[in-house]
């Protein structure tokens, strides 16, 4: 008697997403797939793999350019991280998490690639649905407390070890649709670079601002609704808050 369809579908997709099928690394097909031409399964596996990598490369074009061949990374990624979603961003985040885990054991090469990858992911997240990324944020202890402030949900803070912004020219608003150009020109300077990635009101794409460390720390502290009166207020604090609000970096509860 034939196995239930779902079991056969699981066997098929496990095979098609395996390194064995994609890279021809050996290993046979499951018994559930007997009767299906192995060469055709290999073609199907490559189609599927190409689609997935196309999505990831679209979000991380400069990271891929810096990885160069990156063949070893990609093969290890395929082996350790099977695809779990159709989403371009989720696939890219999965690859980014994989790279970060690799960089815990081996130095990033070039050393600034970690900052480049983090910025590409941040820009893609900011360009995605802001509600998606704010769902896990606290709603504030006292929703009736008007005038409280917090960092806008769709703002991402990046403390980079290298100033990688030169790699992102032309301007970031077109980032997700740009072709990879990383690796061109001089290497970025190594310096502590506090960056804010945000979608200011009226902007048609994510933008990156460098801020002074004090502003970066303030924005980091404003994760939850906060009474501004309780902050260490300087003379121009109101003006600063107005400026941050205008740039879409903080919001005020009305």
């Amino acid at each position: 008697m034939a196995k239930p369809l779902l079991e056969r579908q699981v066997s098929l997709i496990e095979h098609l997403t395996s390194g064995a099928a994609i890279f021809g690394e050996g290993g046979g097909t499951a018994a559930d797939l007997e009767g299906i031409d192995c060469a055709l399964l290999r073609v199907e596996a490559r189609f599927s793999y190409a689609k997935r990598m196309e999505k990831i490369t679209a979000v991380l074009p400069r990271t891929f350019a810096l990885l160069g061949g990156g063949d070893a990374h990609v093969r290890a990624f395929v082996a350790r991280c099977p695809p779990t979603t159709l989403s371009r961003l989720d696939n890219a985040c999965q690859f980014h998490r994989f790279l970060v885990s690799c960089w815990q054991h081996e130095a990033p090469d070039p050393p600034y690639i970690a900052d480049v990858a983090a910025m590409e992911i941040a820009c893609a997240k900011v360009d995605a649905d802001p509600e998606h990324h704010s769902s896990d944020r606290p709603t504030g202890a006292d929703p009736t407390h008007r005038g409280d402030i917090r960092r806008c949900p769709n703002v991402i803070l990046l403390r980079c070890a290298y100033d990688v912004r030169s790699i992102f020219e032309p301007p970031l608003p077109t980032l997700p649709r740009m072709q990879g150009r990383a690796g061109e020109g001089a290497a970025p300077a190594k310096r502590d670079t506090p960056l804010v990635v945000a979608m200011p009101p009226g902007a048609d794409g994510p933008q990156v601002f460098e801020v002074i460390p004090a502003i970066f720390d303030l924005l980091a502290a404003l994760y939850d609704w906060t009474d501004p009166q309780g902050l260490d207020v300087e003379p121009d604090f109101a003006k600063l808050l107005a400026d941050l609000r205008e740039r879409g970096l903080i919001e005020v509860r009305n």
Partner: protein
């Protein structure tokens, strides 16, 4: 041979990377097809660009994320979100593939075929009814192209589609390119496939152009549905053959690669329109071109 008097709307699938070009050439299309999943999971700028088209040009709604054929319960929350999108797009129908792309915990993003058996058809019929109950718009199933077949497939492609559509009242989004590719790759007569479809079944049509894969491990070259090149003449012939027998309201050109070749896209649209005109005139395309003296 009957000659349908209507004229289907001709357009293309909306793609973000050529959004500006699409807007500049909007008057070249009667309709645009929107991938509903781009409205659900695309970037804010993409969603904004899509919904800005509402009212400017008729839109149709096409899905890639349902995985109707997975032998597991449907994602009802996903369907509810789809229903919202279809309503916002003011689309006349919602289409999805007769295929599966995932199993619990894994997603291939590639459309996989189902074993064409009566048991599987019964399962799909129940799921299509669920879709129809959750998404209150006409539902269309699309035939896919497949590289391999399950060894226990017993029914023909047309019989499988006819059965599911007859039992559910779903229409067919006929991908003519897929019929052409499958017929070539798997050795069946594409005209017999078209002839076997129930009259009135085809509500929309997809056209596309692909590439030929030559690999030493393959027993013969394989035509692949890459949506990257001009529609082959053989697929246009099959479209014309289809239009003489079915009356779709929409024909969509699918193009996902080499999108910078805008001239090719517009040329394909013109070639499709010429085949529509030929089908309406009741003359074969070549015949119409030659015409009659005097």
């Amino acid at each position: 041979m009957t000659t349908p008097a209507h004229s289907p709307a001709v357009g293309k699938g909306f793609r973000a990377s050529i959004e500006r070009w699409t807007r500049e050439n909007l008057n070249r299309f009667d309709v645009l097809e929107i991938t509903v999943d781009h409205c659900l999971a695309g970037s804010r700028s993409l969603r904004s660009a899509i919904f800005d088209l509402v009212g400017r040009i008729p839109l149709t709604a096409h899905g890639v994320g349902l995985s109707l054929g997975t032998d597991a319960p449907l994602d009802l929350a996903y369907l509810e979100r789809v229903a919202d999108v279809v309503e916002r797009l003011r689309a006349p129908a919602y289409s999805e593939h007769l295929a599966f792309t995932r199993v619990p915990g894994r997603e291939t993003a590639a459309l996989m075929p189902l074993p064409k058996t009566e048991a599987v058809a019964e399962s799909i019929i129940a799921k299509v009814r669920t879709v129809q109950s959750r998404v209150p718009f006409p539902f269309l199933l699309e035939n896919i192209t497949y590289v391999f077949e399950w060894p226990d497939s017993k029914m023909s492609d047309a019989a499988f589609l006819n059965l599911i559509c007859r039992e559910t009242g779903a229409g067919l989004l006929l991908d003519v390119e897929n019929v052409y590719l499958n017929a070539t790759n798997h050795g069946f007569d594409p005209h017999a496939f078209i002839d076997a479809l129930h009259p009135g079944l085809v509500r929309e049509v997809h056209m596309a152009g692909g590439v030929t894969i030559r690999d030493e491990s393959l027993s013969k070259p394989l035509l692949a549905d890459s949506h990257s090149h001009p529609v082959p003449d053989a697929a246009l012939d099959l479209l014309e053959y289809t239009l003489a027998r079915q009356a779709p309201s929409v024909i969509i050109l699918e193009r996902d690669d080499r999108l910078e070749a805008g001239g090719e896209i517009l040329d394909d649209i013109a070639r499709i329109r010429a085949r529509v005109a030929a089908a309406r005139s009741g003359k074969a395309y070549g015949e119409a071109l030659v015409g009659t003296a005097g």
